[in-house]
């Protein structure tokens, strides 16, 4: 058996050092594998309580470099020392609507955690004033809205975020950033001027992934002072409860009575985590995207509208004069049927092509010059193995980095900002910047030639890139995240901060704030 030995036999000390090596090498090899993993794990952890101002690294986008603000200072988690305070610190809580101005519209909202009955099935969820979706809030352009929120029974606490409404920062409803989550029995009053007519929605931004999926949301519509050109104005809130697709909370088609020849405006809101295709049995016009009118929208046939998660699309259809109805499919599963009672039309086949908003409508001037931006940022989305909050996995990266080591985009009021978004992560991301509307300049390097295409929620498909521009005209601290809220919970959250701003609120902490 000795003949089977595969190594020359050493005598004396040679065998001794060889034995040491035989023990040490495997241990060293193990350490060489485990130690880097341990280091990655350690650096991925976030403090038990932290300010978003401590997250990541400061990105000035080629603009003026300064300290962003007061107590926090970006970069604590990167091990850097706080910078000098160059500007007097302003707090997000200072950014409110005129407190002296009386409200034009007052709404009381009560949130509850309860089971919902959807399509005959019982699913756990949330209600606002006893229903999901909650009541629609309507106001006229220029009115001051005052919403008094009381959390009756949502155990994790709630907030209300006004999705797509460029509210003052303190009213944004981002838990741990602009306010503390409202605990059971707690209250909060939101006040803001609805100065842009359009279709919006509200939803909780505390533990938002399960709370929005569970239905803590509702529609918010601001009508123009001049009124609308359509005779019928209807909202269709699409939501998936426990795998069941619904419109306005019902797992069935929505029937809208309308007379032949009438023009009907359908405000479609996608409250899910993925994009939805919308198409009709007859021609339609896309009047508005994300609460902003399309300039001179033409009639469209044979193309679907891609409505990204969190996005809104206002479509106009005309009821046929022959007494039949129009079907507007919100995905293949549900539809809005518009026409005389009892009238119907067959389900129209899903168009193979999508309406391209890059070329839809006709050009019109925008109120700023995006060709000479003061700041240019990159928001490059990738996916790679690593650790986030101590958990291993395949995580979303922003500019190659994982949460919380992601960019803090620093701007100054009045800046013209261009953000280049690209997606090499293999999945779709509906990107949502709070507090601002941006105009799409280009997709995949091809310039937009249609109507100014304003967005607050942008569908970025794999291998797509977008250049968007906006004016930094709403000071504060704003989340800039993926509205597939599961992705946000997995770390797809960056922030846009105005220099000089700070927040008194903390992630986690006594209020247990968890915006994602």
């Amino acid at each position: 058996m000795i003949g089977h030995s595969r190594r020359p036999t050493h005598g004396g000390t040679g065998a001794g050092s060889s034995r040491v090596l035989r023990v040490a090498l495997p241990v060293l090899a193990t350490v060489a594998i485990v130690a880097p993993l341990g280091w990655l794990w350690q650096t991925s952890r976030v403090p038990a309580v932290y300010s978003v101002m401590e997250m990541g690294y400061l990105d000035y986008g080629g603009g003026a470099v300064s300290d962003p603000g007061g107590g926090g200072h970006g970069g604590h988690m990167e091990g850097r020392m706080p910078g000098h305070q160059v500007a007097p610190s302003r707090r997000v809580t200072d950014m409110v609507a005129d407190p002296a101005r009386p409200a034009d519209v007052r709404v009381e909202l009560v949130t509850q955690q309860q089971s919902l009955t959807v399509g005959g099935r019982s699913v756990s969820g949330f209600t606002v004033n006893g229903t999901s979706p909650g009541p629609q809030i309507r106001a006229m352009e220029g009115q001051l809205i005052e919403v008094h929120l009381r959390n009756e029974s949502v155990a994790d606490g709630v907030t209300l975020h006004w999705h797509g409404v460029d509210v003052p920062n303190a009213m944004d409803g981002a838990a741990g950033v602009t306010q503390d989550a409202v605990p059971v029995g707690g209250e909060f009053t939101y006040r803001f001027v609805a100065d842009q007519a359009g279709s919006y929605w509200y939803h909780s931004h505390q533990v938002s992934n399960p709370q929005v999926a569970g239905g803590l949301l509702g529609s918010f519509v601001v009508t123009p002072k001049s009124g609308i050109a359509q005779q019928v104005d209807v909202s269709a809130v699409a939501h998936t409860y426990g795998g069941l697709r619904t419109i306005n909370g019902k797992a069935e088609d929505l029937r809208v009575p309308a007379r032949p020849g009438q023009r009907v405006r359908v405000r479609v809101t996608n409250t899910d985590n993925g994009p939805m295709q919308v198409w009709t049995s007859g021609p339609y016009r896309l009047l508005a995207t994300d609460g902003t009118d399309v300039h001179q929208p033409s009639q469209v046939s044979g193309r679907s509208v891609t409505l990204t998660a969190g996005g809104r699309a206002d479509l106009e259809v005309s009821v046929p004069s022959d007494g039949s109805a129009v079907r507007m499919q919100l995905s293949k599963a549900t539809a809005v049927i518009i026409g005389p009672p009892g009238a119907d039309v067959p389900v129209p086949p899903q168009p193979a092509e999508e309406l391209d908003l890059l070329t839809y409508g006709t050009p019109a001037p925008v109120d700023f010059d995006p060709t000479h931006p003061t700041r240019r940022f990159d928001y490059r989305i990738g996916r790679r193995p690593g650790f986030v909050k101590g958990r291993p996995g395949m995580w979303w990266s922003i500019n190659g980095r994982l949460f919380p080591h992601v960019p803090m985009y620093v701007v100054r009021e009045g800046d013209v900002v261009v953000i280049h978004i690209d997606n090499h992560s293999g999945e779709i991301h509906p990107m949502h910047l709070h507090g601002h509307h941006a105009v799409v300049l280009a997709r995949n390097g091809v310039a937009a030639t249609g109507s100014p295409w304003w967005i607050d929620s942008l569908n970025v498909s794999p291998n797509e890139s977008y250049d968007i521009a906006f004016v930094a005209n709403n000071p504060g601290i704003w989340m800039d995240h993926c509205h597939n809220l599961k992705h946000a919970a997995q770390g797809m959250i960056a922030h846009l901060i105005y220099e000089g701003f700070d927040t008194p609120y903390r992630i986690a902490g006594p209020a247990d704030n968890q915006p994602e």
Binding site: T13, R22, V27, I33, G242, N273, P275, M394, G426, K486
Partner: protein
């Protein structure tokens, strides 16, 4: 350590089999659900993966496939690699390293399939290679183990000096 090596190697192979089974189970359930009028789009899919909204029960197969492939199998393969350092069997580290590399490649190819579906075909083929390699590693260790034990004994007796 050798027993641990064998168990881990065979566990990788078993997990690959589980991956194939749950995936086809899930796809079969999807087919049946669609046949009965169900509509799967991104919203329903996103609701199901991670948020637990189950339009049809077999979608659990796809969820299990994702968790297994992202977390469980890489962890087993990593443990196999670490254990291989201590087995003192010729070739053991090499086989474990190949299994680990195939697991890493399998995950990357799988995620690539989200973007380029043709990568999914490679994912299926690589699964067979990985399965075979994991079985091979377990069997070769058994074949090589006996002589190595003798070598170890001999080294021990030669130590006092």
């Amino acid at each position: 350590m050798r027993t641990a090596y064998k168990v881990l190697a065979y566990l990788v192979a078993a997990e690959v089999a589980v991956q194939a089974m749950v995936m086809v189970w899930g796809i079969a359930g999807l087919g049946k659900w669609v046949d009965s009028g169900g509509v799967l789009d991104n919203a329903v899919f996103e609701e199901a993966i991670g948020n637990g909204g189950m339009p049809f029960p077999e979608i659990a197969g796809l969820v299990v496939h994702g968790i297994n492939g992202t977390f469980v199998i890489p962890l087993i393969a990593l443990l196999l690699l670490i254990v291989s350092f201590f087995t003192k069997v010729r070739g053991a580290i090499k086989w474990a390293a190949i299994v680990f590399a195939l697991v890493v490649a399998q995950g990357q190819i799988g995620f690539l399939g989200h973007e380029f579906p043709l990568a999914g075909a490679l994912h299926g083929l690589n699964a067979l290679v990985l399965f075979g390699m994991a079985i091979y590693a377990g069997r070769r260790l058994r074949a090589e183990a006996a002589p190595a034990a003798v070598e170890h004994e001999q080294a021990s007796t030669a130590t006092p000096a």
